[in-house]
Symmetry: none
Subunit: 320 residues, 2 copies
DNA sequence: AGTCCGCTGAAGGTTTTTTTCGTAGAGGAG
DNA sequence: CTCCTCTACGAAAAAAACCTTCAGCGGACT
């Protein structure tokens, strides 16, 4: 019988892999083989069952059981739990950042495509949030608060964000209207008065139509708010307040889609901030909108309720 | 024949317990019992084997297996791993989770609002990507590939995603049309033939209009693809292929906005996968679309180019 | 050189998990 | 109100994973 009096580690906060490395020289040949595998790729190993690990390490299931017992667990499953736990704590991500940056190739697997795109999108949100200039952000909320009417302009994909913003503002009983082409926008220019604002959404900030629209509204004394991914562009030079999204352009696709997702997040933050400021006013408006939606017997509209604050703790039912 | 140790999705970094809480209302009686136990004492539960859980929750082992599958795992052991992983991570950073869950209050600072929303959104993307069922995903790509025409349906906010999808498919020279209300969709029902497919996008999956549209198209032999946040709903029961987004409903706002961001990511992944498959065909279509856009002298459209592969290293110009 | 000691993998036994299948109960139609 | 259908649930059989036993083999010590 093996001595194995190493550590009766119960669960948490031990450094399992370090432990294994430490006791490496007290292992027998096949135990050492297994240990090497565990150290080399804990993530992978933690996903294998006992026979897979046996094959993978060129040993036998019996040895895996013995190994598990040697380092202090009742059996393989218990060891596996500990390993999973460890891996999760360390946050060893299976795929390195660099790998994901490498771009999608024609022979990437579906899994890789999904992982890469998701990472790009979620990072766009994170970095945008981190970099967002809070002073400008506050200025936007102020401007919206003061404005009696808000114009929103976005082309193509950015147009969807524009429409989304309109929806969110209207829901808060805020006058807002979205335009998705330059002609319509310019036609409606007299809708806004000095003191109102125009929100222009543009990934690149160089699109000619966007620039034209901004110039026209600016000339009439409208406050120009720009949401864009470009640090410096024709549009940023013209705008009064700029909110900058940080979607990186990777090699496999333009940053435009990520940037749009970041735009949505920014817009969402702005609306929540605005709602928070006008809490009491918003509340009744929201109640009215809820009632209005609810009255359509039995029908529910997706995304019906809020994007807003819920001060009580009651779970918001009827949504899912 | 055993499948080698490849992992369909990575278990780390998702928000399992939140997920369970989130889909609580789509559980059946005994599943709900199990869910309660898991939520009430995840640590304890993570140490039980399947029969212990069954006894503990006054249900049966079969139900535990069904529960595990319902929330997206292959079986009980896989779920258990995820739970262990979650518990372990929670033990370390209970602060951040609690913080996220705490909801936005009327006296949160702007910085906090931004951080919370960004975290929720980026998590939604991560979790969705991790949990996405790759088999269904592939089926969708297949179905799109075969279809000579693709219908897309989404209401309100989901409608923007629908339009975005249309844009992306058209860019690949794929016939697709987006409808944003039931009436229009039903009027156009004869546009699709058996073998074609309808992509329905719905956060809740219970909206009456959505269900009606699905039923009508299904009756005509159209393949129904559903993108939704609900694990089980009227719509999921009808659909042929379901892709599930995992946006968590937090206390401060509905999950709808996060869910929409997740929908966008899913749609983007699908389009890239489709483009990859038909690489040669896509390439020429994209070239044409580039040329078309470029010919508008000096004008550029935001988000114009792709969401597609760039096999050469040349940066996709004209975008920035 | 012979014997002993203890590691090792194969085979068989045990536990755990999954699947199948019959039943009961809810909901809808006649 | 009754019958029918359709779905959820759990019991039990089937499958998988895991553990134990045992015989063989290699090295070490006498």
């Amino acid at each position: 019988m093996k001595k194995a009096a190493n550590s009766p580690h119960n669960d948490n906060f031990s450094d399992l892999i370090g432990e294994i490395r430490n006791s490496f020289n007290s292992f027998h040949a096949s135990e050492a083989l297994i240990a090497s595998c565990v150290i080399a790729d804990p993530v992978q190993v933690s996903k294998m069952n006992i026979s897979q690990i046996a094959t993978f390490s060129n040993t036998s299931v019996a040895s895996v059981v013995r190994f598990s017992k040697a380092i202090g667990y009742k059996g393989y499953p218990e060891f596996r739990m500990a390993l999973v736990s460890e891996v999760s704590r360390l946050g060893i991500s299976e795929s390195s950042i660099a790998e994901l940056d490498s771009g999608i190739t024609t022979d990437d697997s579906i899994e890789e495509i999904i992982k890469k795109i998701a990472l790009a999108d979620s990072r766009a949100i994170q970095t945008t949030a981190e970099r967002l200039d809070v002073k400008s952000f506050k200025k936007v909320v102020d401007a919206w608060d003061r404005a009696s009417n808000i114009g929103i302009f976005g082309l193509a994909s950015s147009g969807y964000v524009a429409m989304d913003l309109q929806l969110k503002l209207n829901r808060q009983a805020k006058n807002a209207v979205a335009w998705r082409d330059a002609h319509t926008a310019l036609t409606s220019v007299s809708l806004l008065k000095p003191g109102d604002c125009l929100v222009a959404i543009s990934h690149s900030g160089t699109t000619l139509d966007v620039v034209e629209v901004i110039e026209e509204f600016k000339a009439r004394g409208i406050t120009i708010i720009l949401i864009t991914n470009a640090i410096r562009s024709t549009a940023t030079a013209l705008a009064d307040i700029v909110l900058h999204t940080s979607a990186r352009e990777t090699t496999f696709r333009s940053g435009a889609t990520s940037s749009r997702i970041a735009q949505l997040t920014v817009v969402d933050c702005l609306c929540v901030a605005l709602a928070q400021r006008n809490w009491s006013g918003t509340k009744s408006a929201l109640d009215q909108s809820r009632t209005a939606v609810g009255s359509r017997s039995g029908k529910k509209i997706d995304d019906s309720v809020n994007s807003s604050l819920t001060p009580t703790k009651s779970r918001s039912r009827g949504q899912g």
